[in-house]
């Protein structure tokens, strides 16, 4: 329940007003009486939760009187450009300070941003490196601070103050990111804000690393920092710092990175001071505002250049990270003139005891990531880049989750927001002669990596993750293959870091790192960038564990483009009950490891070999037990039968694809000794393959008659609209009598919660025992 002074509540607390009773016969309040009521409500607000008026808006504010005054004195575009470039330099300097000095693994690989804002909190410019998504999100906490803390006598905003926050309900990409937001004053007036935000990882959640796949309530998600003042007049408050350190697994990290962020922001402020000294306050303020407004105008112009029409793209996610389900992320993008509308209706409901839900603001931030990194990467990273785009979404869907939904692994929903816009844009921009980015197949969209935690070899308690989430395969381009393991969708310059450096600090090794998995490719005329595998095992620690937090083990998480195929699915594989270090110490020849070989040959006697989906809750790793995963591939582009046969032969020779794929998918014939393509036989095979398609394909309408069903398969736990009609959602909810499928509009759906998977498993096993007892005539008397 969100209770603010401005939002009527139904729980009899802060927002109740005298006129809510049914059959009310009371007189309307006079203006004076209403003023008293408002004053009373202001003074007795129980809890200042996230403010819907702030949180639902991604538009920039209107120009303030002061900004108008500054702009009216004349704007020299050359000077504005010069200010912008100096700001970019200052922000990059701050960024590099965070990257070089940050303690969090995320800081080391560049998962952070620095930014400057207008006084009202619109992002004007972001560091050139880092996570662009923040340009759509960090106006929320500033607006909250301005609305609730600026005139609050117990808080206030003064020069040298700094505010921290992490909770995405108040505006963030996700709860692992912690910000330091500081105002810039001139003559007693706030004229701008500067902030640094770092993916800190550990945040005291129910599992280490800050992104728990196992959270079942919002209170499992870790720190719930609404924006509050932690730096007063330049001094870090030790009492609040201690509280934060006490709330997380890694108190050293909490302190270190707070200091890093404060230092970086102060350095940026120094640079801003020198710019203002040179150009004057009014020119500086005008430059910030003009940049925001210019970007909005340019975005409108770019939208108007796109063809009018609607592009739809549906995604299906196969996991709650505890069990396999299918939940839909629906998206229709409509362009009409200079207006764009993104309609997410039809998306599945929030699941109130699973971690996959995301607040809408986080989904929007990843849409911004698509817009500013994959549509129009040349634009300044401003809040206004999304201002002209309307977003329609139903609250209480998993991509627009309510206050009470857990969102520990909200990236599952928000990254779908990225993919929706990134994928749709290939169709939207294809016929547009004016392009600012290449036509591209879908980027891989899962953070396939290991999160870890426990006690290190140095006795420190830690929790964080491997940088390999940054090894996402790039989508194929229209004119060349996608790049292997190139970068995460959210941060083009993030790298996979120096694992050997990490191993100095944590008690596990990547026994296999960055080995391409054969056939793990988005096939197409141009293939998607491939993913690699990694095998980890811990040793020499009293307590250690791993977890994984992604989906896509049963349903491919990205599709192809224009006839290309999507990515494979990716499993988690484990070998327990052995110590690989002991084995390879005795016989180093056993070190020739790959997931395929280990799992298929099962070479280690006594090992327990298992696979699972990629939602592994924190799992205690005994010495030498192996955990194996692989990155996924970007989507393929174009018809596989158009792929250059020589490129297929090269992939074969390098072991990137198997002979079976080369023949059955790509239709290539070659000499197995020399890898020389038999052009004639290939032409014939491809001709035959096309003829086979024509023979087996059914005319569309006839196909629909045989294929389309009125509802999802009976045993599939399916959530979301079925087909293009997005009015009603299908869902399975669990009643006293077991699972029951319902179909209703979002406001009429029951609350969706899933049963404990262990109970489900035990129940099935008990049923099986009773079945066997009956079969064999064994009578067992049990007490309940």
């Amino acid at each position: 329940m969100t209770l603010t002074a401005n939002e009527p509540s139904t729980s009899g607390t802060a927002g109740d007003t005298a006129g809510d009773t049914a059959g009310d016969t009371s007189q309307p309040l006079t203006a004076q009486e209403q003023q008293w009521v408002d004053q009373f409500m202001d003074e007795t607000t129980l809890f200042l939760g996230p403010d819907p008026a702030i949180m639902r808006s991604h538009q920039i504010t209107s120009r303030s009187a002061y900004e108008d005054e500054c702009i009216s004195k004349g704007v020299d575009p050359i000077k504005v450009d010069r200010i912008r470039k100096r700001l970019a330099g200052a922000l990059d300097e701050g960024y590099e300070m965070c990257e070089a000095m940050g303690a969090a693994p995320g800081a080391k690989w560049g998962d952070l941003t620095t930014a400057i804002y207008t006084a009202e909190g619109d992002v004007t410019y972001l560091s050139c490196h880092g996570v662009i998504a923040f340009s759509a999100i960090l106006h929320h906490p500033i607006r909250y601070i301005m609305k609730y803390w600026k005139d609050e006598p117990t808080v206030g905003i003064n020069p040298g103050d700094g505010f921290i926050h992490n909770d995405a309900r108040y505006g963030n990409v996700h709860n692992t990111d912690q910000s330091m937001i500081m105002p810039i004053f001139r003559e007693g007036k706030i004229i701008a804000w500067v902030a640094a935000t770092i993916h800190e990882g550990e945040n005291g959640a129910c599992e280490p690393g800050g992104m728990p796949s196992g959270s079942e309530t919002p209170f499992d998600d870790g720190l719930r920092m609404s924006p509050f003042k932690i730096v007063e007049k330049g001094e870090l408050r030790r009492d609040l710092l201690t509280f934060l350190q006490h709330s997380v697994r890694d108190p050293k990290l909490q302190l270190a990175d707070l200091k890093v962020k404060i230092g970086a922001v102060q350095r940026i402020q120094e640079r801003v001071d020198s710019i203002i000294d040179e150009v004057g306050v009014e020119t500086f303020v005008a430059a910030l505002r003009v940049t925001v407004e210019d970007v909005e105008q340019e975005v409108k112009r770019r939208i108007s250049e796109l063809p009018d029409g609607t592009v739809s793209f549906n995604q299906f996610m196969d996991s709650t990270l505890k069990e396999n389900i299918l939940i839909k992320f629906a998206c229709k993008v409509t362009v009409k003139g200079d207006k764009m509308t993104v309609d997410l209706r039809g998306t599945g409901p929030e699941i109130l005891n699973r971690a996959i839900n995301s607040p809408l603001c986080s989904v929007k931030s990843m849409m911004m990531q698509a817009i500013l990194a994959f549509w129009w990467p040349d634009l300044p990273r401003c809040t206004s880049a999304m201002s002209p785009i309307d977003i329609i979404s139903d609250e209480h869907t998993w991509a627009d989750a309510g206050y009470d939904a857990p969102m520990g692994q909200s990236l599952q929903a928000s990254f779908r927001g990225f993919s929706a816009l990134q994928t749709a844009f290939a169709k939207m921009q294809f016929s547009n002669p004016e392009k600012f980015s290449n036509v591209l197949a879908p980027w891989f969209n899962q953070i396939n990596t290991f999160l870890w935690g426990g006690l290190t070899q140095h006795g420190d308690q830690v929790g964080n993750l491997c940088a390999d989430l940054n090894g996402m395969g790039g989508g194929a381009k229209a004119f060349r293959d996608g790049e292997d393991a190139v970068s995460p969708l959210f941060c083009a310059m993030a790298d996979t870091a120096e694992q050997e450096v990490m191993e100095e600090e944590v008690p596990f090794m990547q026994l296999v790192s960055k080995r391409i998995v054969r056939d793990n490719q988005g096939f197409g005329k141009n293939s998607g960038g491939m993913g690699y595998e990694m095998i980890v095992a811990a040793e020499g620690t009293p307590m250690w564990g791993f977890m994984t937090v992604t989906s896509g083990s049963k349903f491919s998480s990205v599709t192809g483009m224009f006839g290309g195929y999507g990515c494979s699915t990716t499993p988690l594989a484990m070998v327990k009950g052995i110590n690989i270090y002991d084995i390879i110490r005795k016989d180093s020849s056993k070190f020739d490891l790959s997931m395929e070989r280990i799992m298929n040959e099962q070479p280690y006697e006594g090992g327990k070999y298992t696979t699972a989906h990629m939602g592994l809750q924190f799992d205690v790793a005994k010495d030498g037990e192996m955990y194996m995963i692989a990155q996924g591939s970007g989507g393929g582009y174009g018809d596989v039968l158009e792929r250059d046969p020589e490129a297929v032969a090269k992939d074969l020779e390098l072991g990137r694809i198997s002979p079976k794929v080369a023949t059955s998918i790509y239709g290539v014939v070659w000499d197995p000794e020399t890898f020389v393509v038999d052009q004639e036989a290939t032409t014939q095979l491809r001709h035959d393959s096309r003829q086979a398609r024509i023979a087996r394909g059914k005319p569309y309408k006839e196909f629909l008659e045989g294929y389309v069903k009125t509802e999802p398969p009976k045993d599939l736990l399916y959530y979301g609209s079925w087909g293009d009609d997005t009015e009603e959602l299908t869902a399975t909810h669990f009643t006293n009598n077991g699972p029951e499928r319902v179909k209703a509009t979002i406001d009429k759906l029951p609350l969706i919660m899933l049963p404990d998977r262990r109970e489900v498993k035990i129940s099935a096993l008990e049923d099986r025992i009773r079945e066997l007892e009956l079969k064999h005539g064994e009578v067992v008397h049990r007490k309940s």
């Binding site: 294809f430 349903f555 224009f562």
Partner: protein, 150 residues
Amino acid sequence: MRIPMTEYLIIDLDTERWNCRVCNQDLGEARGNYKEGTLVYDRDPTEIHQSILDPEKYEFTFAPDPTFCRILEFYCPGCGTQLETEYVPPGHPPTVDMLWDIDSLRETWTKRGTKPEVVINYGPGEEAVADFAPALGSHNTHNHSPHSFS
């Protein structure tokens, strides 16, 4: 005027029809869903994304689960080119993925006054230059097109 709308689809504004870029096969009304003019096949995804781990031993093998995921393949009835794929749950209706405002498209291109097959490209960068002219100008003799095959 013929506008390339995807790698394999054009809209002919004179006839207001969708056509295959490779063989010029008619695929239906440009104001409607091009998929209605295609041949469709319900592909078992394990035939494309084949198991890497032994499916006899393991549930999760790198291959999608066909009870969760199907791949709809949309073919041109004229030349058999795979125009599009779509990943859906079994029985889920295919998505109408593109609907264009043809009047607006015509107005835009008339105003531009340029030839679509000359000015449309794959984006910034030398490599991304796309020459659509051969396919568009020679749809009856498509052997010269970049997509030509026998």
